[in-house]
Structures are given as structure tokens and as C-alpha cells.
Amino acid sequence: MSDSHSSILSHQFETLDQQRASAEFGMWLFLVTEVLFFGGLFVSYAVYRYLYPVAFAESSQTLDMWLGCFNTFVLLTSSLTMALAVHAAEAGDKRKLIRFLLFTMFLGTVFLVIKGFEYHHKFEHHLVPGAHFEFEGPEKEHAQIFFFLYFVMTGIHGLHMIIGLGVLSVLILMAYNDRFSKEYFNPIHITGLYWHFVDIVWIFLYPFLYLIGHPK
């Protein structure tokens, strides 16, 4: 069935559904590339955790696991609000859509602020890898590798969050300008996929980085 909504149907597509299915498949393919992108880091993590279990456990202890737990709670909640935003878009409810997008942005920001505090704490305690790194214990270099992976993995994750916040703000503007409807809300849908994926990365990062060894 062909739609004559020429403004929302791009010229290369025949139907709105073809367009929707293409957008969804395209975003999933992008997410697959992200799996492999983060995957390289997880692989490095796996190798070094295998090689230096003690250093990794000791380093992990220095991370605040309850702060990390709270941050995980924040992100999981943001996934809920994002899912509810998509749900609102499906129903064509503009006010709810904007409200839930704003909630998601707020929660994402809270996550980043807390992360910022954590980074600051590391900086103060000379746990940032490089010239000023200090660590008590016989395996200082191995601990440095842990902290390197900690900063790179959470850093790149954080970068993805920041990009997500940027996209969300654009979506809010678009929603405010009535660019979405029950028939067309692909950008919301695929941004939701992206956001959930970033949440999934954190779902793994939290236990892998914060919960090695046992709490003292």
C-alpha cells in the first residue's frame, strides 16, 4: 500500500513500512558495529583480567560499588523512560513523548555527573594512568592496566551517552515542532534502540569493573 505523504516518505522508498523497516534494520546494523567496537575493549579486559586477577581485584575494590550501583539504577530507569517515550510516540501523544524524552535526558545527565565525580575522585587519588599514577601494592603496573581499561571503557561509554543526549535534545525540538505522528516516528524509535544499547553496555561494565573480588 502506497502512501502519498510525500513529505515523510523519502523518494527512494515505495512505502512508509519499507522506510520504517529499513531504518530499524539500519540502526541494528549500526548497533552490531558498536558491539564489536566495545567488544575490542571487552576482549582486552578479558585478557588482562585473566592474566592479572589479583591486581584487577585489588583495583576494583577502590571503585565505589554503591555509587556504581546507583548509576546503574539511573540508567535502567532511563531505559524505562525511553521505552515509554517510544510508546507515547506510537500512540501519537506529543506531550507524553516530550515529557519522557526530557526525563531520559535528565537521568542521562545525572549519570554523567556522578561519573564526573568518580573521575575527579580518581584524579585526586592519583589513579589516572600515566605519569602521575600511584598505586600501593606489588602489582602497580598491572593495576595501571586495570585503570586504563576503566577509564577507556567508561569514557567511551560516556561519550556515547553525551552523543545520545545531543540526539535526544534534537528529537525534543523536532517533537515540539510537530515533526512526529502516529504514522511516522522512526527517529524516536531508532534513538530508543541506541539508548537501550548504551544501557546494555553499562549493564556489563558495572559488574566487570566494580564487582571483581569481594566487598570488604
Partner: protein, 535 residues
Amino acid sequence: MKNYLTQDISLKSWLLTKDHKRIALLYLISITFFFAIGGFAALCMRLELLTPGPDLLKAANYNKMFTLHGISMVFFFLIPSIPTVFGNFLIPIMIGARDLAFPRLNLASWYIYTLGALFALTAAILGGVDTGWTFYTPYSSTYSNTHVVLMATGIFVAGFSSIFTGLNFLVTIHKMRAPGMTWFRLPLFVWAHYATSIIMVLGTPVIAITLVLVGLERLFGVGIFDPRLGGDPLLFQHLFWFYSHPAVYIMILPGMGVISEIIPCFSRNRIFGYEFVAYSSIAIAILGFFVWGHHMFITGQSVYAGLVFSLLSFLVAIPSAIKAFTWTATLYKGRIYLRTPMIYALGFIGLFTIGGLTGLILASLATDIHFHDTYFVIAHFHYIMVGATMMAYLGALHFWWPKITGKLYPEFWGRISAVIVFLGFNMTFFPQFILGYLGMPRRYHVYPPEFQVLNIFSTAGATILGVGYLMPFVYLIWSLKYGPDAGNNPWGATGLEWKTVSPPITENFTQIPTVTEEAYDYHQEPMPDLPEEAM
């Protein structure tokens, strides 16, 4: 009626185009430029290697030359080449669509490539990199004093161009086929690019993150690849080759797709074993991810891992061999026309076979110990990259030139060039098998005097090869102005692209076609004669 070239000739319309055909031509210009750079680097290397001593280049600069050669050719020429030029141009038309699924992403891919290219060129101009295109650690991550981060950034950025192209192709092929264009009616060129796109999407992100890690190691000295700090240099190699081995399949699969189009057309026969060719493309894409350790047999990885990788490497040869057999079987009882594309295609089959067989020699653990890091390896991969892929690229350029430009190239010069390329290629690289067997290491600018004769042969061959490459550059451009009009289908070929006008209109089709025929519906009918002016 206006076609895609004449529709709007302003610069802005080209730089902001969303037309996949124009984007293909933008890429053609970019990759030709990098071919020239990579070729120049090769020229410097082969000139240096005319004599056993260090005459032209001192060691550090020779290192920079082979690095520049590898990076330009692999990342900025071969990996994009056939997909971004011919894939972009042809896939929508071949499947009966108006454009790719995401035209703006397609344009963005080209700009991203260009940005990456600028980083890489800047690194080269500022003094280059001397680590080899393989960036092995800890040399690249700690000890090298060259512009590693800048060059790595260029490759990182260009990688995203590759990813987005692959993504675009996958969505297009799945979602935008015309009515009646079932999977098994698709041209094998499309299947080949489908398989290639899978590799691009699954593999490229890994080298991206690997280059990030190298850059961070250089900047902060944290120890991830530094053995003094507990890092494992081999981890880099695992991460690097996890992409870079499948990358070689990115470089060959599209070429195989081209050959699958040329052979049936110039033998006027249906392709033999269509499903075998289609499935073998997917098999190569998948199996290609499981063999990366064969680059690391002597590096200290566990012998057990070496065994597994060796066995899997033998397996991946099987689908490739299947293709060689099906192409050959297609020729049986065919009506062979030895026009330029066919000469390239037949050359491909022979040279690919040699390259593939020597790959098996390298895949066996014991023989690899002797051949690793010698000219045998170089000859092996150049037989595939140049003997096969480059010839497929030139074959594609000639086969689809009439469709892309609406003009016929001079067939006489085409044939001569193809023969010169074939002879020059073999003269360049066959001696290198022998040199490698005799023990000449790769990446050395000096060598024992007893190797000089073979090196001189190789350089002489390279010169001839260079002439062979220059000739199409001249006569193809000449044909743009002076070539006769091609008409819709000068080859009498099957496929939707040959049903459109030459050059096609911007929307490709006035009406989306409905497909009823199987692919390669040839019945040994004669090929149309070329007009007198095109001879």
C-alpha cells in the same frame, strides 16, 4: 532526456548530491588519487631495490615508503575500490531500486573518507610513519618517533566510511529489491557485495578501537601493549588481525563478484552453479573471521592456537576454490569473446588460483616458519591483491564504462593494456616467490648481492606494469570526448543495468521494473559487434 551526469552540472550539485551514481564517481576520483600515491611509493621502493645497497633511500625512509604504500593501497584504495565505485553505482540499478536505502549516509561516507584521507595525507606530508601498515606494537605504540597518531586517526575515520557503506548495502539489498527480484535472481555481483558488507560491519569496528588503544598508549604510556609494564604486544596483533584478515576478503570478494558478471557475458553461457557461487561468498565472509592467527604463527602464540588457525585457514580455501571451478565450468561450450573485460577476467582466474594456492603453503605451520616475513608472503598477497583484485577492478572499469559514461573505449588499446598489465604483473611478482623461497626478507632496503638479478627482473616488471596502468588512464579519459556512443547494451549483457539508458537517468528507472527472468539468461547468442570507431 537528461541523464545523471547532465541533470545539473553545478559544483554544488556534485558536492551535495544524494545520487549513488554521482557519489560513485566522487569515490572514483578519490581512490584513483590514492592509487597514484601508493604507486609512487612502490616505485620508490622498487627503484631502491635495483641494487643490493642503500642507494636511493636510507633505512628510515624506506620504512616510511613501504608503510605509505601499504596504508594507501589497503585502506584508501583497495578496500573502498570496487564497493564504493561499482557497488555504489550498480547495486541499486541491479536490484531495481531508485537509490540506496540511505542516500545521505552514502554522501556522508564519502566525506568521512575524504576527512580520513586528509588526516593520512597530512601525516604523510609531515614525515610519514615507519611502522608498516600493520602498526605492530610496541614499536608503533612506544618507540616509533613518527606521526603514528595522526595516521592512525586517518585510518580510524576512513574505517567509518567503510562501515556506513557496508551498512547501506545490507539494508538496500534486504529491503529494496524490485518486485520479482528474489534472492536467487540477484546478480552474483550483488551477493558478493552482500558478503563484503557483512565483513565491513563486523570487522571494521575492531580495528577502529585497536587504533584508539595504540593512540592512547602513545599519548599516555599506560602499558596496554608495553611488555615493560605488563602489557602484551601480541594482544595488539590479535586485535589487528581480527579485522585485517577479513579485510583481505573485503578486498577480494567484490572482485569475485565482478568476475561472476564478466565470465557469463563473454562466454554467452549461464553461470555454472549459481547457488554455489552465492553461498560460497557468504562462506568466505564467515570463515574469513576465524583464521586471523595464521599471521601470527611464529610470534609466540600458543601452538594449539596455531594448529586451530591453520586448520581453519585450509577450510576457507574451499569456497574460493569452488568459485574458480564454477567460473571455469561456465566457459565450457561457451562462445568466448576475448574483449578487454574478458582478458582481465581470465587473467584473474589464473592469478587468483596461484595466489590462493600459495596461501595454502603459508597456512601450513611448518612451511610458514620458513616463509614468514619473506618475499614469498609479499608475492602471495600481491598475486591476490594486484593479480586478482586489481585486474577485476580494471575489468569492471572497462565492462561498465559504457554504462557509466555512455561512451565506448577503444577496444584495441584496451586489449593491449590488459596484456601488458598481465605480463608486467607476472614479471614483477613471480621472481618474488623465488626470492622469498631463497630467504630474502620483506621490508628490507638492502639484500645480499646474489638476489640482485631477481630484483632487477621484478623492478623491470613493475615498470611495465606501470605502463599498463597508465594506458587506460589515458584512453578512458580520451573516450569521454572522442569515444562513440555506447547505446544501452553494447555487450548484449543480461541484468537490469543493461536495460537502462547509458548513462542512466538520475532516478535509474522511469518505472520500477518487475523481474521475471532468472539471472544470466544467456543462450550462447552472439555478442553485438563493436562499431568500427570503437576498435
